[in-house]
């Protein structure tokens, strides 16, 4: 059972890098057990590192980014702005955005949800954590988290796709193809497109089972 309130420091949170090294997730929402909407912090360890990944929230979430420390360069749509500490950047859903750290140790808080809907935790959080755990050698913990996430989001093609990426990186091709097949059955168009582009799946593309899934 959680305490009635908690005191935390962003510096005490785990540091969970994306597969390509940056950005680094400081898993605030998971650590705090915060339930009303999504809120996390992202770290750019070095100037030039990505601190907010390029994406568009096509699921309908609006987001607010707050530069907590350091400095970042945000690009939202066609506009690029320098963002010192205390800068607020609001981005409506569907608009492409990204941010790069302009100084070492830049931290950006990100809050987001879809207006008019009750918020639920998204699978990407668990997968980000699982991928980071795997990269840090915590493979059993990571795999347990993937299993748990898939159980909580049954029917999600994104979950199965991410699980395929996870197993491909972990070196279990049979498990990766099983997940990829299920993802493809649920959303053939999206999965075929993402599978062609995703570097995590590179170890699978030369395998005969690749054609069995997509042809």
């Amino acid at each position: 059972m959680r305490p009635r309130y908690e005191i935390l420091s962003l510096d005490d949170l785990e540091r969970l890098p994306a597969t390509k090294g940056s950005p680094v997730l400081l898993p605030l929402r998971r650590t705090a057990g915060f339930r009303p909407f999504g809120v996390n912090a992202w770290l750019g360890e070095k100037a030039g590192d990505q601190v907010i990944e390029r994406h568009a929230e096509r699921g309908g979430d609006e987001e607010l980014y707050v530069v907590v420390r350091g400095s970042a360069r945000f690009t939202v749509g066609d506009e690029t702005v320098d963002a010192p500490p205390g800068t607020l950047v609001h981005v409506p859903p569907g608009t492409v955005r990204e941010a790069v750290a302009a100084e070492d140790d830049t931290v950006v808080l990100a809050a987001g949800a879809k207006a008019g809907e009750a918020w639920e935790p998204k699978p990407w959080e668990d997968f980000h954590v699982a991928f980071a755990y795997r990269a840090a050698g915590r493979v059993d913990e990571a795999r347990a988290l993937v299993r748990d996430t898939l159980a909580r989001h049954p029917g999600s093609w994104e979950g199965e796709f991410n699980a395929a990426c996870f197993e491909a990186l972990a070196g279990d091709a049979a498990a990766a193809f099983a997940h990829l097949r299920r993802a493809h059955e649920r959303a053939p168009g999206e999965v075929a497109r993402f599978a062609e582009e995703d570097p995590d799946l590179a170890p699978l593309r030369g395998d005969a089972r690749w054609r069995e899934v997509f042809e």
């Binding site: 959680r2 305490p3 009635r4 309130y5 908690e6 005191i7 935390l8 420091s9 962003l10 510096d11 705090a32 057990g33 915060f34 339930r35 009303p36 909407f37 809120v39 979430d61 609006e62 607010l64 707050v66 907590v68 420390r69 010192p84 500490p85 205390g86 800068t87 607020l88 609001h90 931290v107 808080l109 809050a111 987001g112 949800a113 879809k114 207006a115 008019g116 809907e117 009750a118 918020w119």
Partner: protein
Amino acid sequence: MHVDALDRIELDDGFVWRPVRRRFGIRAFGVNAYSPGETGQVIEEHTEETFGHEEMYVVLRGRVRFMIDGDEHELGPGQLVVLHDPSLRRSAVAVGGDALVLALGGKPGAPHEVSAWEATFAAIPAARAERWEDAIRIHEEALAERPDDPRLLYNLSCMEARAGRRVDALLHLRRAIELEPKWADYAAADSDFASIRDEPGFPA
């Protein structure tokens, strides 16, 4: 935009509200910033029992002493407090000079609804300057989304009474009391209604 460029609305309790959600038109969650006013207060003493909100306060600048359920915690930049239990009594004061706290909140498992108090806070500069029509407009805009919110109706009737719009004031006050009878007690002692208290049909 930079947080320091947000409006600064100092409340009578001594803290300064920096309206983030309202500035950006955010609909999905509650978010605002607070800085100390003359008294050093940053977060007013309150609970979230009315709204059932879970809250997170993040110190962006300065040092801030939080009082939570009788406990004191002095926090600096990058530190935060998460209040899961809406019944916890909470407040905060700045330690030293400048400080800035980001407050995020919402009700778990429910779509976010904009809190009625935001319109009341936003109307304060207009009310202080006796620009009653501007204050009325701010409340009417909020009521368009929440037509049966008794707090909004009550505060709108206060502004209308001050503006000399007696009929509107009486109608909205009566509706507020119909929805939530406690507003009759407030109206009985509220100086905003001095101009209409002797009107036939004044409900308190």
